[in-house]
Symmetry: C2
Subunit: 371 residues, 2 copies
């Protein structure tokens, strides 16, 4: 629908600051130990911000390596660059040919993955590149302890492969001093010792900030590139990337004891005024941001003043208590969803989730502007 | 990315049964009182299922009228049909020209909307068509009681307009015998009596099933077209429209006292096996479907057997306890997210939300098949 959309007639506006994104990438380049490179994790459509634009912004900073979640995503990026493109979701049986043909790097997550990729290398009579993922506690993807042991005892299993990086992934690096992070690091060091000649990569956004010893040869920042806070216990060192504003569709008066929204979950204890704005859960304004009487948490901002969400979030609309605003806004004006007064992380807290989900849920109805 | 995606190499598959959608539309045609037409509510990209395909399916059933939420959405549909297309979000000041030029029907939600549209009609020296929305309890959009009274006393305010329908919207029709529904109906009847010559529309999906007296001249089904249950207290009268399956990326063994996922929220009380599947909150598998120890609610199905989600939902992956499956599945096989064993409504219940949000959150990474 993009061709028919216009700035003037949009219902809500999403502004994405690619300059800030590039600056955030450079924060990692500055942070990284000498010799340590910085990859860009641009999966899930660049964390919901538009992978083409995100990729272009990182290219201006000479980002040397890209991580995607799925083969489809990697194929898309492969059309745009000849640089290394890796698939975190791994290599499933039957996909060897296309990885090979398109020069996509599989992240090998199991002995079976290794064996399948090794067979392919053997058939072609060449060494095939890959990343090798050891699980150190996430229990999601990667070789488990037993598989790691098997491999360490018999490195010939990867003799036909050119392992670019050994990798693992932190589960709790966002929490300062979480004991799991050190445990994972120690496991990773132990496994790594069996592959002294191979480069290593461990740190995600948070991990990169937690300790220099986690840096190894490649940082893999994701969330922080997009302006989310990798060190939540302190002020966000990243620049904000996202701004979201929505149009006020209507201002209305409500009377004490009236209710608002589906299910009549919110009942007013006094006369007030409401603003109905043009975004809803279909736009990624999560339904969990809605509420019942005396349980209001989420807010939007009007000229810097917080206005509480009241009642349930609809598919295409949200209602806000604006009884305290003087002068009262008029229909057609805008309110801030994410911006100077409220970060994606703040909105996530109100929704009981994390900033990542706020970003990846951003809908397709916004008028998107990149600057 | 669609051009590079293939059925074979996809991570997850979304199948949308347009025949079932057409059949659901016909359930409303059969249900409707004689003379009552049935519109299609296809806002929010056809409730997330793809508005072009949804529109085409409804066209095969000669759907006479379409409702959208925003002007952008309406402009898109206007390119596809000359039939009436109405914007529920209303007419904001400054948009009169484009509504007029593109023959989009505004839903007039306030005296101000009426005045702006009336002025436009006066300038052009023609009658302009519109819908007129009276709020009867939602307190979201529509003329409030006082505005309604003003208008009823002075019908000349709409003398320059061709009001195709008076409309209102139920807030609680999904709950059987909810008192608000009758209250809203009574208010609507009272207001309608001032406009005896104008057609009326009140019933959404649930309202259409609740009482024939709610039918008036136009039903406006949305959710039920897409297979959600409009009468949750009884068996779903609609045909299922959505099927979603995802690929198993890896099978892994875990040992008692190990944890899984971010934040180590889930700790195993015995040895078991996990399947990691290729979808996450970036795909609309809401993060609220994740869990902590002893709090597991959400499930996926493997060959009809429920497998509980364990730990947090990641952006691109979910982990499931499959210790009870015998034989154990292998990587590359699929699991059912929505289908024969679990409806979108079921998944919504596990996430603490409604089926609507499950549908509108369906992501763009799925390989989408329409049948």
């Amino acid at each position: 629908m993009k061709d028919l959309s216009s700035r003037k007639h949009a219902s809500a506006w999403l502004r994405i600051d690619l300059g800030a994104l590039a600056a955030n990438y450079n924060i990692f380049k500055t942070l990284a130990l000498p010799g340590c490179k910085v990859a860009g994790v641009i999966k899930a459509d660049g964390y919901g911000l538009g992978v083409d634009q995100v990729f272009a912004a990182l290219e201006t900073q000479s980002c040397p390596f890209y991580f995607l979640a799925t083969l489809d995503e990697a194929l898309h990026i492969r059309r745009l660059t000849k640089k290394p493109v890796a698939v975190l979701g791994g290599l499933y049986k039957g996909a060897e040919d296309i990885y090979c043909h398109e020069n996509i790097l599989p992240v090998l997550n199991s002995l079976e993955d290794i064996s399948n990729w090794q067979k392919k290398a053997s058939t072609l009579g060449i060494k095939l590149p890959a990343l090798l993922h050891f699980d150190t506690g996430m229990n999601r993807l990667g070789l488990d302890a037993q598989e790691a042991q098997t491999l360490c005892r018999d490195p010939a299993r990867i003799s036909g492969l050119d392992i670019l990086y050994l990798i693992s992934h932190f589960s709790c690096a966002d929490e300062k001093n979480h004991p799991a992070t050190k445990v994972q690091y120690d496991k990773f060091v132990k496994i790594s010792s069996f592959f002294p000649a191979v480069k290593k990569s461990l740190a995600n956004s948070s991990g990169s900030f937690r300790a220099k010893e986690y840096h190894f040869d490649l940082l893999r920042p994701g969330m922080a590139l997009y302006g989310l806070n990798p060190v939540p216990e302190q002020e966000n060192p990243m620049k904000p990337v996202v701004r979201l504003d929505t149009r006020i569709l209507q201002i209305r008066s409500v009377i004490k004891n009236e209710t608002v929204g589906y299910g009549e979950t919110y009942r007013f204890d006094k006369n007030t005024r409401l603003a109905t704005v043009a975004l809803g859960y279909a736009d990624g304004f999560l339904r969990s941001l809605g509420n019942s009487t005396n349980d209001r948490k989420a807010v939007l901002y009007y000229n810097g003043i917080a206005c509480p969400v009241v009642g349930r979030v609809s598919m295409d609309a949200v209602t806000l208590d604006i009884g305290h605003l003087d002068p009262c806004p008029v229909a057609g004006e805008t309110m801030e969803v994410i911006g100077a007064h409220q970060t994606a992380d703040d909105l996530a807290t109100a929704a009981g989730t994390i900033g990542y989900e706020i970003l990846t849920s951003l809908g397709s109805r916004y008028f998107r502007e990149y600057c």
